[in-house]
């Protein structure tokens, strides 16, 4: 059970870390100074959440590993994040689409996780809920602004939404680990969130004058360590120092 909980926490931390890392790539390059700062804020929140998860996971594992060992010394096959969050930033519309899909799910997820029988997880979730409500407001606002802005921005926003739609399936298709954790009252029954998720998305799309993508999402694999080609590059960069100079304090 302890091992399964450890794996489950890693999955949560991996999502925040990989998306936080992606957002941090915008820092200094944002389209507007204020947006640059807002994206960094979200990145900071997500990496902060990762630290909470990883510190807790390391404690549960009790083998002397640290949050940094978990972040910097696992290979791509050991990472359990959704495929969505590792997708490259693309243009600002793609970043907003990715963020909106994730935030919408993340908030629903955390609102359930606060009820976890595992007190520590519930506490991390409670703290994160506040942050993520803000993230969702930011990404929805921008989705609406770009969807209902100029012709050019609408086209780009529609394209971002269409391209990344495929990755939303993964949120709801439960693997064994998730089923086990949900049954134990520790994890979230994500399948139960599916309906409200797509209903919420549709609502924002309508406000943004964005069409619901016309295909059924189906890309999965990240949760079980089968990633896209993008993750290897991200990790190579992120883990560079720890790999090149093993075992040092920084």
């Amino acid at each position: 059970m302890k091992e399964r909980l450890f794996d489950y926490i890693l999955q949560l931390g991996d999502n925040s870390l990989i998306l936080g890392h992606r957002l941090s790539e915008w820092c200094g390059h944002g389209p507007i100074l204020e947006v640059d700062m807002a994206l960094t804020n979200i990145s900071l929140d997500l990496i902060g959440q990762t630290r909470n998860y990883f510190q807790y996971a390391a404690k549960i594992e009790d083998k002397g590993r640290t949050e940094d060992d978990l972040a910097f010394l696992r290979t791509d096959r050991q990472y359990r994040n959704y495929l969505l969050v590792e997708q490259p930033n693309g243009d600002f519309a793609a970043t907003i689409a990715r963020q909106f899909y994730f935030d919408s799910f993340h908030l629903l997820f955390l609102q359930e996780l606060v009820k976890s029988k595992d007190e520590q997880l519930a506490a991390i979730a409670a703290k994160s809920v506040k942050e993520v409500s803000y993230h969702l407001r930011f990404s929805s606002d921008w989705l609406i602004r770009l969807g209902d802005g100029t012709e050019e921005s609408r086209t780009k926003m529609q394209e971002g939404v269409d391209d990344l739609w495929n990755f939303t399936a993964e949120f709801f298709l439960m693997n064994d680990l998730e089923k086990e954790m949900a049954a134990a009252g520790i994890g979230v029954d994500v399948q139960a969130l599916e309906e409200s998720y797509y209903a919420q998305i549709q609502e924002v799309f309508e406000a943004a004058k964005i069409q619901m993508p016309d295909y059924k999402p189906g890309q999965i694999g990240g949760k079980d360590g089968m990633h896209s080609e993008h993750l290897g590059h991200l990790l190579a960069e992120m883990q560079y120092m720890q790999r090149a100079y093993p075992g040092m304090e920084w």
Binding site: G28, V35, I47, I144
Partner: protein, 320 residues
Amino acid sequence: MSDQQILNLEERFQQRIDAEIKVEPKDWMPEKYRKTLIRQISQHAHSEIVGMLPEGNWISRAPSLRRKVALLAKVQDEAGHGLYLYSAAETLGAERDQLTRDLLDGKAKYSSIFNYPTLSWADIGAIGWLVDGAAIMNQVMLTRNSYGPYARAMVKICKEESFHQRQGYEIMLTLAKGTEEQKAMAQDALNRWWWPSLMMFGPSDAESTHSAQSMKWKIKRKSNDELRQQFVDVTIPQADFLGLSVPDKDLKWNEESGHYDFGPIDWDEFWRVVKGNGPCNRDRIKARRKAYDEGKWVREAAMAHAEKKKERKAKLAKSA
């Protein structure tokens, strides 16, 4: 206004400056005072923004989660500084977008230090320690400058800069206490950043073009050389504590003057970098221009959307 009237106004203006009364946006001020300030404040704002790039270069490779968060937050602080400063410049009638375009067109300057590359993680320590450290010397002085909005922006900024400086020093300290490889990395970073940091204070007093008038208007209160000396005096003991040495064979404590003597600065290098031939001048401006150009449709969309919202609101009010 007659020439005589302007003369009288200028005299009164100077009297108020001499009496340490802050100039506020609505007060009358000589056109040259306004222009000097816009130039200086926007140059300062541009430095904050361009300065995000060399440090941003290590965000994706920060060696621990704690360092990653700290570096991200630091670079974000610099964006915030840029914002405060652009706002201060706007109180003088400048426009942020125009100032930005001046930067991108190469008409406006920014601190030359950011034209040097960050080659190792130790550079992140060295920049915090030395570059933020040098910036503080200048900025503490500017908290007392005669233009109110600029002085107040500086107070806020200084608090964060001293935090950055301590954080950078702490990175250096960790490296200095680390393995041989880490020590070498720290020394190499100090070797590369030391002289450019001294150049940050600008040309020596004899060569400085704007200094005298700026001193009189209390936009500046200390000369470049004074500030530089002050920086060397506080920094050398810090380097000693790290067990690192600055790359200057002429550096020596001078018992008589109570200051460190240091070797000659390579002003040819300084001018070379100022004039565009530093290692990263082109890259920095290119990166800023890319962000600006690629952000154009986003800014347009935000404006168009705000406009639509306003129209809808007006229509609603009419029909109600």
